[in-house]
């Protein structure tokens, strides 16, 4: 495959970027990828990440700004109290300054996360043991509820009944723990 920029060298850098919900493919040679550093920057050879891509991506945020202008204050003036990073800086470098930035910029994150993670905005993986307990039970509950719906849809009522019983006992457990906490 030939690089889509210079149309000379073979393309070795391949990525998909989701822009406004549409998938766009890029096939570039390393030289061109480097030259377009504002969009694609690489950490040398290894563990290339899309991170720097993001900075470029966020700079094309004009439509979102217009859209949100009425509903929310201008995001550029938002500033994280813990690390002093402004939303504007975040869009420039594509990185957060601290944990609290996630909270400070929370209302502007869903569209960014959706674009980066194929429409996903919520974690559904590992939970630290320390957080465990109630959180684990709640995740388990959500999984079981989904399973129940699937079983009902497939008319597997016997198994659905089993799952329903599991859900009930989990809910009891959560209620007990909730009371215990208070």
């Amino acid at each position: 495959m030939i690089c889509q920029e210079c149309k000379q060298r073979p393309a070795t850098m391949h990525f998909t970027k989701i822009v406004n919900g549409e998938k766009t493919e890029f096939h570039l040679c390393e030289q061109c990828a480097k030259e377009h550093g504002h969009m694609f920057t690489f950490y040398g050879n290894d563990d290339f990440s899309l991170n720097n891509l993001l900075a470029g991506l966020l700079n094309f945020q004009a439509p979102m700004k217009e859209m949100t202008a009425n509903a929310f204050p201008n995001p550029d003036v938002l500033q994280c109290e813990t690390c002093q990073m402004t939303y504007h800086q975040f869009t420039q470098i594509g990185r957060f300054g601290c944990v609290n930035c996630y909270r400070t910029f929370a209302r502007y994150l869903p569209p960014i996360l959706k674009r980066l993670h194929s429409g996903n905005t919520a974690h559904s993986g590992k939970i630290p043991k320390r957080k465990g307990g109630v959180l684990h039970l709640r995740k388990q509950l959500a999984t079981l509820k989904q399973k129940l719906q699937e079983l009902v849809a497939r008319e597997e009522f016997e198994r659905a009944a089993e799952v329903r019983d599991q859900i009930r006992s989990l809910e009891d457990e959560l209620r007990r723990r909730g009371e215990g906490d208070m």
Binding site: F96, N120, S124
Partner: protein
């Protein structure tokens, strides 16, 4: 330093051991990005914070043993020579970013070099587990266990809705990057790779050449990894990658059989010519070396070449890079000097095979 001694200390377990499907998959890697509450991210933390994090990990984990991986040693980037750092990068134990752009960077490295924990890279820590062959699920399990162990001592930044919080939103959620290194010479020779790569990209995976400063995948070695970290469980991310890798393995095997059928002795000739170059060259550039190594490795996999261990590609791709060549030479080398050293090192390595074989025959 004698060649054998250099060689034995230079090669980590994951390079020289075989794993499942290791005729095509050279290694599997899991990386978990984690941050610690109460510290700002490396994006803008103070040098004081950076030092505190290194101290915390040094105090808590350095010199401790971890299962079969052996003891952890803490390496501070500021205390390493440029060549030493380069060697660690070439062995895939640390990232170029940690080596070059992280003044307060450090790395906890296990004795067997299967585990490395990068400190103060883009995130406070990045846990990496490297396994030979296709062992993504095994590597994930190992990384996750290690993650649990570390979590017993530090307080991770975690959000109920967003998961593990990372300095870059591309890693948030699981913080997981799973990747495999694959040798795909037949898909390259038949040019099928050109339509396969875009198809894989469609599935939310990233494909790129592992080696080469220029524009190609040197040695026909590709790295395939996940792009999405949020909204899928670790197990699903790894399972999805595994499925694609298995399809690629099947396609590569089919392409190899097709090449054997259509090219026959021509293919065998190509393999042995490349072997001839490696065994006799006096000056060789990394690009030519990579192509010859790839051919020889294919020849070993196809049974044309016997009595040479398969790991030769994996090992020599790493050992013939500039950092290693300079470490072997004991000092800085100009590019022309590297090409001479590279040729010498490859010939030595092939002679080592002959010696091993003779010892084997005597027994």
């Amino acid at each position: 330093m004698s060649f054998e001694k250099f060689f034995n200390t230079a090669v980590s377990a994951w390079m020289s051991q075989e794993g499942p499907d290791s005729d095509i998959v050279l290694s599997s890697r899991i990386r978990l990005a984690r941050n610690i509450v109460d510290f700002r991210f490396p994006t803008l933390f103070s040098s004081e914070e950076a030092k505190q994090i290194v101290a915390l990990f040094e105090r808590t984990f350095a010199h401790r043993s971890y299962g079969g991986a052996g003891r952890f040693e803490l390496l501070k980037m500021s205390e390493l020579q440029p060549i030493e750092k380069r060697v660690l990068v070439e062995k895939h134990l640390i990232s170029p970013h940690l080596a070059e752009d992280s003044p307060f960077g450090a790395c906890l490295l296990s004795e067997n070099e299967e585990i490395s924990i990068m400190i103060n890279e883009e995130d406070h820590i990045r846990i990496q587990c490297l396994f030979p062959g296709l062992q993504l699920a095994e590597a994930l399990e190992a990384a996750s266990e290690l993650d649990d162990w570390i979590e017993g001592y530090v307080n991770y930044a975690f959000d109920e809705r967003l998961g593990y919080l990372t300095s870059c939103p591309t890693n948030v959620g699981t913080g997981l990057r799973a990747s495999v290194m694959m040798h795909l010479p037949a898909l390259v020779m038949t040019q099928q790779i050109n339509r396969i790569i875009p198809a894989i990209n469609q599935l939310g995976l990233v494909v790129r050449g592992t080696y080469g400063e220029g524009s190609e995948a040197l040695g026909n070695i590709f790295q395939i990894s996940n792009q999405i970290t949020l909204g899928k469980s670790e197990e699903d991310i790894v399972a999805d990658l595994h499925t694609i890798v298995q399809q690629l393995i099947a396609q590569e095997r089919a392409a190899r059989q097709a090449l054997v059928k259509t090219l026959g002795i021509q293919l065998e000739d190509k393999v042995f010519r490349s072997y001839g170059i490696l065994a006799n060259c006096r000056v060789i550039e990394s690009k030519e070396a990579a192509q010859c190594l790839s051919d020889v490795r294919l020849g070993i996999d196809l049974g044309y070449i016997k009595n040479i261990s398969r790991n030769i590609l994996n090992e020599l791709m790493i050992l013939t890079q500039p950092g290693f060549l300079q470490q072997y030479a004991g000092g800085a080398l100009r590019p022309e000097e590297r090409d001479v050293r590279r040729a010498a090192l490859i010939r030595e390595r092939l002679k080592m095979e002959d010696r091993r074989k003779m010892e084997g025959d005597e027994r």
